[in-house]
């Protein structure tokens, strides 16, 4: 691994997706004030796979929520391409999430009353340029379990449905918050393989939050957080395949 300056030539040729400058997020007031983000400067580029590492409370999730349009920052600049996320109205944030962002959560968050196929189709119905739900599920190797309900699927399978749901709309950005946090190693790796494949084949900017330092190996770039700031960043010369990881 090489230590990087923020703008590396190899990446700089790719179009910039997110532009983050002096971003702060303060929760609470007065004595209870918590600086979840205390001035973050970062850029993310198309097709990149970035891993955010850091202890609990270091600000990773807050950043992800701000990037995904779920939360608005207290101060600083935050742009998705030309779209200013700091002051967009709710309706535009909804459209942004619908068209451009795919989310993957630690606890899958599938709709329990819909089958795997229907969970994906839910999104493809409202998206601009979706792929067929079956194709999305094929990408995560779940072509055979289309009509199963979440309760009939294992944790790893549920997470792969969640990935299929997130990518079926062909998002520009895939945001993953601890995608393997609730899974054992073997299933965790299957899930990571799916994420890796999406990133490679669809060229989706993929940002993954994890506690698990091992996952840093599969990233283009590893960003370390502490105390609401970027502590340091590393760039991998080559990405290790997800299947080679072990923890």
């Amino acid at each position: 691994m090489d230590t990087l300056t923020p703008e590396t030539q190899a990446v700089a040729v790719r179009p910039k997706v997110f532009h983050v400058r002096s971003l702060t997020k303060v929760y609470g007031m007065g004595e209870a004030e918590v600086h979840a983000l205390a001035g973050v400067d970062l850029d993310f580029y198309a097709g990149e796979l970035a891993v955010l590492l850091g202890p609990s409370g270091s600000g990773k999730t807050t950043l992800l929520n701000n990037l995904g349009g779920l939360d608005v920052p207290t101060a600083g600049e935050l742009r998705y391409r030309d779209f200013d996320l700091t002051c967009a109205p709710e309706a535009e944030l909804t459209r942004y999430r619908r068209d451009s962002v795919g989310f993957i959560f630690q606890f899958y968050n599938l709709i329990p009353s819909l089958t795997a196929r229907e969970n994906v189709a839910l999104i493809t119905e409202i998206a601009r340029d979706p792929m067929p739900p079956e194709e999305a599920l094929d990408m995560v190797n779940l072509g055979a379990r289309l009509d199963h309900f979440p309760a009939q699927l294992s944790g790893g399978e549920q997470q792969r449905v969640a990935i299929a749901r997130a990518i079926a709309k062909r998002p520009e950005v895939l945001l993953c918050d601890e995608p393997t946090g609730a899974l054992d190693v073997r299933t965790g790796i299957v899930v990571l393989e799916a994420i890796e494949r999406v990133n490679r084949e669809l060229g989706t900017l993929t940002i993954v939050i994890t506690h698990n330092a091992v996952m840093a190996g599969m990233a283009d770039r590893v960003i370390h957080f502490s105390d609401g700031r970027v502590h340091h960043q590393l760039r991998n010369a080559t990405r290790a395949p997800a299947s080679s990881l072990n923890w």
Binding site: N65, L70, D71, R97, F107, S113, L114, K169
Partner: protein, 788 residues
């Protein structure tokens, strides 16, 4: 110092206050109904009982033509008779200055000296008759109020055709006329009918009855057989023109109060039962939700050594807060409604003092029933939580099991949208929750049907009575039967268009061992006024011989067309005749027997006579006509259709409106509460799911649609069910009014159904919108975190 566990209780209650209030209110509706109905029963029953006892209301009553006072002593000795009181009761015509139409009434005698033994009066204002006085009269309160008469005012009565002025000494009440109406009339008209009391000597002299009596009342000795006393009295009175003795059960005023009590008894059981089952379920739903949320807390409490018992108690307290709240609101509400209804009773019933009497046992019962309902609602949920081993409880609940809904398995699943699928699968997974929401909404719809059906049925009855049957504008009665020439006399009065004579004759009709006492109405075969119609409202032409009786009388007698009925006339020479039953007619009030006028006169052997007439008049000459009529002393009473209608609008219609607004309020509370509760629970249980939908790009409207779809499906199932349920309720309640006095046709109108549907739909929509506003507060970030 509040134990910390109770502090937690208070905070939980505060957090769920919307639902707690909703449950308490629904419970309160049921309990209010219970408290109101039981208290009113208690008020009416106890007030009536005390009134009867204090004023010595008789138990047997008999009218006769005339018997010497000496007979009274003999009658008092009939086995089973405790006290017998002989007196005079006569029909009189009144001359009221302020009234266009002739008014009539009944005059009863009071002993010249001392108190009557039975049926003592209650003096509301003024004074009693001075001993040995003349020219003084006591007046019934309902009549005095309707005509604004006060002690000291003058009143002109036509006694046996002679006009005489009386001074009103006092305004009184009698246990005999708690409900006062002209005999045979189902609606009161207190303006044109009243009861008056004067000393025996004065009234007896005026009617040539001095030394005699024509009205007997008795009380019974303990363990006396009413039936044998009546039989013996009838036997003894027969030679004196006895018209058949009867007991309290046939006393018109007594019947009306008893009917009201019976209706209240139905209300006090049926409605609270349904309301409380819905409330019980709502309690269960709220508690289950709370327990699911607090699985971990329960586990921790148990891990730290709290016993199951303490935990169960903790959550039961939660339910009891709702019960106590519900019982308190219900009691206050029931008492308030009861006060309103008691005021309404003043329109119909005259008691010395009818006050709302709170039935304390009703509150205890209400509390008991409420606790029972809550226990029923909570018990299974709490027990499930308490039984959970702590370690297991600390893990989140496993994901819910779903499967394609029944309706999708029919093969049309591909037609449904995702939000529809989410909705139907959720409903199928929680059938009980869906069922009770449906039950609650159906109940709300159903209870709205009842008062409107009642109103429509009463209006159908009146339409039948006043438009189909009675084509005349007024009826009048003569003091004595008179020659048919009176008809020509009446025809010449100003404004008269048509006159039809009739004759009413008191008789007892017998078939087999069944019999009824009734006035047989004789009229022209082709009568155009009081028409006789069949069940399809087609006119029946009266045959030259034989009887046509109303369907209810035929049912009571178990007689059919062609049967030979025995008719025992109770007036004139009291002939006994066998008469064939020639037809059955439709009649909704009272029981009736009709005959062709000449045929009736032939049976009675009286020649061509009449004792009343029906008239149509030119309304432009109404005043002149009534004025002329007042000058004819032979006319004893007049019934004007328009006055009856007007009076009806003021009394019965007003009380139906009051009851309707009560039901309306209950329905709104239930619809609102049930929908609110259901939506809040869905929202809470599925906050994560809904937040996820928002995160992955659904707008607030689209997420709201998922919740609304579910409620809409429930409402669409509930509304028709509610209309059915209401139809059932209304049929039960309205057709329970099927007595010999009145039979309500059960009428359902589109307007009725539309109104109920609309009210419930609007209440549900507003309630749902209130909950949907909370979608804005949905925390999107929390969806990314671990489940609570």
């Amino acid at each position: 110092m509040l134990p910390n566990l109770d502090r937690k209780l208070l905070r939980d209650l505060n957090r769920m206050k919307g639902q707690v209030v909703a449950v308490a209110l629904v419970m309160a509706c049921g309990l209010a109904m219970l408290v109101m109905a039981r208290s009113l029963i208690y008020s009416l029953e106890s007030t009536r009982q005390e009134y009867y006892e204090a004023h010595r209301f008789a138990e047997v009553f008999a009218h006769l033509k005339r018997a010497p006072n000496a007979l009274a002593t003999q009658l008092a000795e009939v086995p089973g008779v405790a006290t017998a009181q002989a007196g005079i009761a006569v029909q009189v015509t009144l001359d009221l200055g302020g009234l266009d139409e002739p008014a009539s009434g009944q005059v009863r005698s009071l002993p010249d000296f001392g108190l009557p033994e039975l049926n003592r009066l209650f003096l509301r204002t003024g004074s009693w008759l001075a001993p040995g006085s003349r020219g003084e009269v006591l007046v019934s309160e309902a009549f005095a109020e309707a005509n604004q008469l006060h002690p000291g005012d003058q009143l002109a009565l036509l006694l046996n055709g002679r006009r005489k002025e009386f001074r009103i000494a006092g305004i009184v009440l009698s246990p005999e006329i708690i409900f006062e109406a002209r005999p045979g009339a189902s609606l009161p008209d207190n303006r044109t009918y009243g009861t008056f009391w004067m000393p025996y000597k004065e009234i007896a002299t005026a009617f040539d009855l001095y030394g005699a009596f024509n009205y007997l009342t008795c009380t019974l000795a303990p363990r006396a057989q009413l039936r044998s006393v009546i039989a013996e009295l009838d036997r003894l009175l027969e030679p004196y023109g006895g018209r058949g003795a009867y007991g309290r059960a046939d006393h018109p005023s007594h019947i009306r109060v008893s009917d009201e009590i019976r209706i209240l008894q139905t209300l006090s059981i049926g409605f609270p039962l349904v309301f409380l089952s819905v409330a019980a379920f709502m309690t269960n739903a709220v508690l289950s939700r709370l327990l699911t949320l607090q699985r971990e807390q329960i586990a921790i409490l148990k891990a730290f050594g709290f016993a199951n018992r303490q935990i169960v108690l903790h959550y039961l307290k939660f339910a009891f807060v709702m019960v106590v709240g519900g019982a308190a609101i219900g009691t206050v509400g029931g008492v308030a409604l009861g006060h309103q209804l008691v005021k309404m009773y003043h329109l119909f019933f005259r008691f010395p003092n009818l006050h709302f009497r709170f039935d304390r046992s009703a509150m205890v019962l209400a509390l008991g029933v409420g606790v029972g309902a809550a226990l029923l609602g909570v018990f299974s949920a709490v027990r499930r939580a308490a039984k959970l081993p702590p370690a297991e409880a600390m893990r989140p609940e496993p994901p819910a099991n779903f499967r394609p809904a029944l309706i999708e398995r029919t093969g049309i699943g591909h037609l449904f949208s995702h939000s529809f699928r989410i909705a139907v699968r959720n409903l199928e997974r929680r059938p009980m929750q869906a069922l009770f929401t449906v039950a609650g909404l159906a109940l709300a719809t159903g209870i709205l049907i009842v008062p409107n059906c009642f109103r429509d049925s009463v209006s159908e009855l009146l339409g039948f009575q006043w438009d189909v049957v009675q084509r005349q504008d007024m009826n009048l009665g003569l003091v004595e039967p008179a020659s048919l020439q009176v008809r020509d006399l009446l025809q010449q009065l100003p404004g008269v268009i048509a006159v039809e004579p009739f004759r009413g004759a008191a008789a007892r009709i017998r078939f087999g061992h069944r019999s009824r006492q009734i006035g047989i109405q004789g009229m022209p075969a082709d009568t155009q006024h009081s028409r006789v119609v069949d069940a399809k409202y087609r006119e029946i032409v009266l045959p030259p011989e034989g009887l046509v009786i109303s369907a209810k009388l035929a049912e009571v007698l178990a007689a059919k067309i062609g049967d030979e009925l025995t008719v025992e006339f109770l007036e004139g020479h009291r002939p006994l005749r066998v008469v064939p039953l020639m037809g059955v007619s439709e009649d909704l009030t009272g029981i009736a027997a009709h005959m062709e006028l000449r045929a009736l006169n032939r049976l009675l052997g009286d020649g061509d006579v009449m004792n009343g007439a029906s008239l149509t008049i030119d309304m432009a000459h109404r005043r002149e006509f009534l004025h002329a009529l007042k000058q004819i002393p032979r006319v004893s009473w007049v019934g004007i259709k328009e006055s009856l209608r007007e009076n009806f609008r003021k009394t019965t219609a007003a009380s139906i409106n009051l009851i309707q607004s009560i039901y309306l309020m209950f329905a709104i509370v239930v619809a609102f509460g049930v929908v609110y509760n259901n939506a809040r629970i869905s929202l809470a249980e599925r906050a994560r799911e809904l937040a996820t939908l928002r995160v992955i790009g659904f707008s607030e409207r689209e997420v709201g649609a998922v919740l609304i779809t579910e409620l809409t499906i429930l409402a669409l199932i509930a509304l028709p069910l509610g209309l059915l349920l209401g139809t059932g309720f209304a049929k039960g309640i309205v057709s329970a009014v099927n007595t010999e006095t009145v039979r309500l046709p059960v009428i359902f109108t589109l307007h009725n159904y539309a109104f109920a549907t609309l009210v419930v739909a609007v209440a549900s929509t507003i309630s749902a919108l209130l909950v949907l506003r909370r979608l804005k507060e949905l925390n999107l970030v929390s969806a990314l975190k671990a489940p609570e």
